[in-house]
């Protein structure tokens, strides 16, 4: 650790306020009315920042809002054309710099699933890409994995710096801030003082210790083939999925689920075309106008969800579309466990436990 800064616990609010002068700063925070409910919120002085708690929803909405305007359309009178009006389109957008501060490594890493899809093409998504370019991730080295966490099983880990621009390492009395990228270094410089050698040593110890921890069993990254072999095994899918309620909770809390819908919300010829979160678990997702639905029941829908993350996405982009945050497992109303489903893929018929 060549370069590092120290931020005392007591200085956290001040540092966040300082960052907020140039950027929207998103932090995990709890509601006054619901202390147990931690979500990413825009920092403002007085907000109860909760670096100690895992957030319910990932930081996904920072770069990929639940609902955003792609373009606005307005009807403009023009008697020179036969219709008597034209449609004016406006896709103007302003992008503010963003800092995601205190997310967990899995949250930052989640965007590595978005990046190849939204920024590389064949078509580049300008809305995501422009925000992405102006976003800095400061992730907190994670020391409180629970029974639903499995980041190590997807090739990450509780101290994974991948996807983060800087790391927050808890030490006595505060945090050591360690830059990972140049952008991270530029961000940290003004908010922390240079860490003392013993603080750096302590931070390095934490990093080493956490880095050695394994969160989640086995490896879920090489099961693309097993998935294809299981594709047409209804008994397997029923055994795992009969209890699924087919709601969209798992996809909405997921840091890597990026499927969306596009709808026009308008009165007459004035309105907006918006992009909003959609879920592969919803029947309408693939329902065609003719009434045909290629994924008519939760079995096909959940199979596609597993396939997308652990087979199709690796085939296209060379990595699994899962960061192991465990939210889909933790928050599922009926505790469907995607780890168990994926782990059982290669097993022989009898192992449907």
């Amino acid at each position: 650790m060549e370069q590092a800064f120290f931020l005392a616990d007591a200085e956290l609010q001040e540092a966040l306020a300082g960052l907020s002068a140039q950027a929207d700063v998103w932090v995990p925070a709890s509601d006054a009315r619901k202390p147990g409910l931690v979500r990413f919120r825009r920092f403002q002085p007085g907000l109860t920042v909760r670096l100690d708690a895992r957030s319910l929803v990932s930081a996904k909405e920072v770069l990929f809002p639940r609902s955003e305007t792609l373009l606005r359309f307005t009807k403009e009178k023009d008697l020179s054309v036969p219709a008597g009006h034209r449609i004016h389109l406006d896709d103007a957008r302003t992008v503010r710099p963003v800092v995601v501060f205190g997310c967990r490594p899995c949250d930052a890493r989640g965007f590595l699933t978005f990046d190849p899809v939204f920024t590389k093409g064949p078509y580049r998504d300008p809305y995501y890409s422009e925000r992405r370019e102006k976003t800095t991730f400061v992730s907190l080295v994670c020391r409180d994995a629970d029974a639903a966490c499995f980041c190590s099983a997807v090739g990450s880990g509780p101290a994974d710096p991948e996807g983060s621009d800087a790391q927050l390492i808890p030490v006595d009395g505060g945090y050591v801030l360690r830059p990972v990228t140049e952008r991270g270094a530029a961000l940290l410089e003004p908010i922390g003082r240079t860490a003392a050698p013993e603080q750096i040593r302590e931070a390095q110890d934490v990093l080493d210790q956490v880095g050695r921890e394994t969160v989640g069993e086995g490896s879920l990254t090489t099961l693309a083939e097993a998935f294809r072999a299981r594709f047409q095994d209804p008994a397997f899918w029923h055994a795992h999925i009969d209890k699924c309620l087919s709601c969209g909770l798992c996809t909405f809390v997921c840091p890597t689920c990026y499927c969306f819908t596009i709808t026009d919300e308008a009165r007459g010829l004035n309105g907006e075309r918006i992009r909003s979160w959609d879920a592969c678990m919803f029947p309408h997702f693939t329902l065609e106008a003719s009434g045909h639905n290629p994924r008519p029941s939760k079995v096909e829908r959940y199979r596609n969800r597993v396939g997308h993350k652990f087979s199709y996405f690796p085939a296209r982009y060379g990595q699994v579309a899962c960061c192991g945050c465990g939210r889909c497992v933790r928050h599922c109303p009926v505790s469907v466990d995607i780890r168990a489903v994926v782990r059982d893929l290669p097993a022989q018929e009898e192992a449907h436990a």
């Binding site: 300008p126 499927c259 819908t261 592969c280």
Partner: protein, 280 residues
């Protein structure tokens, strides 16, 4: 008002105007669309089989094949069957109305690979639309291709699209075989389902490629019929349809396994279809 029209936004439609609407069948209309910007229209290039997203602002977008051939560029033609929300809205539009177009999207028929070959088109109902763009491309470059046989069927004579240009097709040296599901007064062409007519005609697979599009049940029996006639998987091309939103490989719904119909298709060979997971 901020100035827009950034060319790098794949979600931003090009504005066009409906020049002409043709009522093809009781529930299918053909739209001939010209982009409003003459330079854009002049520069517009596409390959046969590629699709476009038509926007009815306030209702939404839907995907249709550009069924005019790239060899004829005074307008872009789309045929629309009234089925859902957007297609109903499209059917309510009039000539002269503004319309949004995002095109071209998707892959196309491998025209160069088809050169020098005999061609068999097998179409049913609205499924003739994607075949038409290729058929007319070939008609306009007739000498580059061998025999062109078209088997085109619909439920009834009035459900056949493009009736007004059948003579033009024949004049271009296309062997056009028309069929309807049952007898109708005044109908003098074939009677019977498309796969049946295919079996009766039995076009030789030798140096031939079959291109088929139609309702799923027809496709199923046509594929079986072609196999019966000795066609290999890579001699058969078809186009797939899925519910689409973005059309550019992002929104996640039109996949069949790891294949995205919107960017990897809509044109697939039977060899490719067989490699996909079975989720049609």
């Amino acid at each position: 008002m901020p100035k827009v029209v950034t060319n790098d936004n794949p979600y931003l439609p090009h504005m066009g105007t409906i020049r002409e609407i043709i009522q093809e069948t009781p529930n299918i209309k053909t739209f001939r669309i010209v982009l409003d910007d003459p330079e854009e229209m002049a520069a517009f290039r596409f390959e046969p089989g590629q699709v476009g997203q038509l926007s009815v602002f306030g209702v939404g977008e839907s995907t249709f094949v550009i069924n005019s051939p790239p060899t004829r560029r005074e307008y872009l033609q789309f045929s629309v069957m009234k089925t859902g929300e957007v297609t109903r809205a499209l059917h309510r539009l009039s000539e002269g109305d503004p319309i949004g177009v995002r095109a071209p999207l998707g892959n196309s028929f491998p025209v160069d690979e088809l050169k020098g070959k005999d061609i068999l088109f097998v179409g049913g109902g609205i499924g003739m639309a994607p075949l038409r763009t290729l058929l007319l491309t070939m008609a306009d470059r007739r000498e580059e291709f061998g025999d062109i046989t078209v088997i085109y069927g619909a439920r009834s004579p009035q459900d056949l699209c493009y009736r007004y240009e059948f003579d033009e097709w024949k004049a271009a040296g296309v062997n056009l075989i028309l069929t309807v599901d049952r007898e109708f007064p005044g109908w003098e062409e074939r009677v019977g389902f498309v796969p049946t007519v295919l079996a009766e005609e039995a076009p030789s697979p030798f140096n031939r490629v079959a291109i088929t599009c139609g309702p799923p049940i027809m496709i199923k029996f046509v594929l079986a019929g072609l196999k019966e006639l000795g066609y290999e998987d890579d001699q058969i091309l078809t186009t797939l349809e899925r519910r689409m939103k973005c059309g550019i490989g992002l929104c996640g719904r039109c996949n069949i396994g790891d294949t995205y119909v919107c960017v990897d298709g809509p044109v697939f060979s039977n060899t490719q279809l067989r490699r996909m997971v079975s989720e049609l």
